[in-house]
């Protein structure tokens, strides 16, 4: 089948070009982060770690990082918990209006974030809830939960109902079966869900922009910095750290997912979503 192989070859070239397109911005980040010039352009002028050093003495940055971390951790915990409830209910039980209820829960996945942001803003202002990290968390949990459910659904779905029944048959209570059989088997999914909710929350801009009040999150802080050209190399340095951190987190999440698959002796296919 020379035709197919030829076609595959053409596609391969295209795929490589596409990867270049995908990775171009990310590859540039460290290049300019270590470049000894305040102008972000080629040719490069020299190597420096000055921008990373400068990062160390910006208190506003530090507090933004802390705020973001706090929001992301809490968001990850809550949305994963809500995700577990919904995914378990959806995969194990039949209940009235199931499709409708699950549909509403998943809507944020296909809703422009600006709309989530402004509608929450309207409500919070009307009921007099002061904008703060709390309001950002409320918004972030809303948009992260569908992602968590999508991941956890996969974990819960691949569970054979008879595993749970076997545990009960062998003398465990319903809770015992959940704790001893179901939880260990979906644990990799739970970890992946936590990591992904954390990453989404860390990165989310528009909801935080509308709802964060006087405590900016990291993306909101960064957004402010982009207006000052002389701050750009520092932003590049910060970006580099963020990208490395996200990639580490995502590799960790993927590793957990695969370990889960391997543990169950399944075969691997695809990744998240």
């Amino acid at each position: 089948m020379a035709g197919v192989r030829g076609q595959g070859h053409g596609l391969r070239v295209y795929a490589v070009l596409y990867l270049v397109f995908l990775y171009a911005p990310i590859v540039l980040l460290p290049i300019f982060a270590f470049n000894d010039s305040t102008i972000i352009a080629f040719p490069l002028s020299g190597f420096t770690t000055q921008w990373f050093v400068e990062l160390a003495d910006v208190p506003a940055l530090h507090s933004a990082v802390l705020t973001s971390l706090k929001i992301a951790v809490i968001t990850a915990l809550i949305s994963t918990l809500l995700g577990i409830c919904a995914a378990r209910a959806a995969t194990r039980y039949r209940f009235p209006a199931k499709a409708g209820i699950m549909g509403v829960i998943m809507v944020p996945l296909v809703l422009p974030e600006i709309i989530v942001a402004v509608s929450l803003l309207v409500v919070f202002l009307q009921i007099g809830l002061e904008l703060s990290s709390l309001t950002v968390i409320l918004g972030h949990v809303l948009i992260c939960t569908p992602f968590c459910i999508a991941i956890l659904n996969g974990s819960f779905q691949s569970l054979d109902v008879s595993l749970e029944e076997a545990a009960v048959d062998l003398g465990e209570s319903g809770w015992g079966a959940f704790r001893l059989v179901i939880l260990p088997l979906v644990m990799p999914g739970i970890v992946a869900s936590l990591l992904i909710a954390f990453t989404i929350s860390m990165d989310e801009f528009i909801i935080a922009f509308f709802l964060s009040g006087s405590d900016p999150t990291l993306p909101v802080y960064l957004w402010g910095q982009l207006r000052f050209p002389q701050r750009l190399p520092v932003v590049m340095a910060l970006g580099t750290i963020l990208v490395v951190a996200s990639i580490l987190i995502i590799i960790l999440a993927e590793w957990f997912r695969r370990r889960g698959v391997a543990k169950r002796g399944g075969s691997d296919s695809g990744g998240f979503l």
Binding site: A86, I105, V110, P112, V243, I247
Partner: protein
Amino acid sequence: MKDSARGLALVSPTALYALAMLVAPMAAIVLFSFWTQDYLTLDTTLTFDNYREAVTDPIYGQLMVRSLYISGIVTAVTVVLAFPIAYYISFHVAPERKALWIFLVTIPFWTSYLIRVFLWKVILGFNGVLNTSLLGLGIIDAPLTFILYNLNAVVITLAHAFAPFAILPIFVVLERIDRSLLEAAQDLGETALTTFWRVTLPLAMPGVIAAVLIVFIPTVGDYITPRLVGGPGGLMIANMIQTQFLRLNNAPMGATLAVLAMVCVTVIALVFLWLNRRFLRGRN
């Protein structure tokens, strides 16, 4: 009966959360859009004034049309660029390396969106990476100006940002296609190309549709990209909503625009789904 009660109990925390944080705010914003605001005083009499203004003032209509237009182009470009990748990974990559490829494709998505968009500005700018490189290589004599602060830049940036959202759903359906169907088609006399057209593509359609919707809907409301790389000609509806809320102190007008944007997106999505169903039925 007992089972369904248990299911409802279990789903209720999540459902109640969605009710409180999604359904109620949506209802509120619809209500809000019928109010008016004068500086800091809200007038809660219900009126169509905002909608009238939104329809008659050409600036809003223009922005809405432009948003939909840009999203439409972004969606088309993203999906068309993504399909061959999904196809390549599904059909030409060895099974044990597929996960790696999918992983490679999704990694950029998990890095800061804000920074990625900003980097496109760095790449495409007047003194940007692309221009300085091309000048340095002697390919061009003067910097290209048509690539930043306009629609092109928005399209490139968004096509980049939403790539995995387009690739993944298409990949998933391609993976599910029973390979013997393709062999059967060739056995029945189709060429590789006509097999693709008559078997693979129709079977991949649900994935393409999903990709289209997943890219189209959020891009209509994108805020960062038009602000950073769009220039004045590339601004979209989300920028106007933000302006109404945070700068002009006219939240009801912002709410109106948000509602209109939602309605437009929903209508377009439904029309699209309907057309697709007719298309699929027409084929059968």
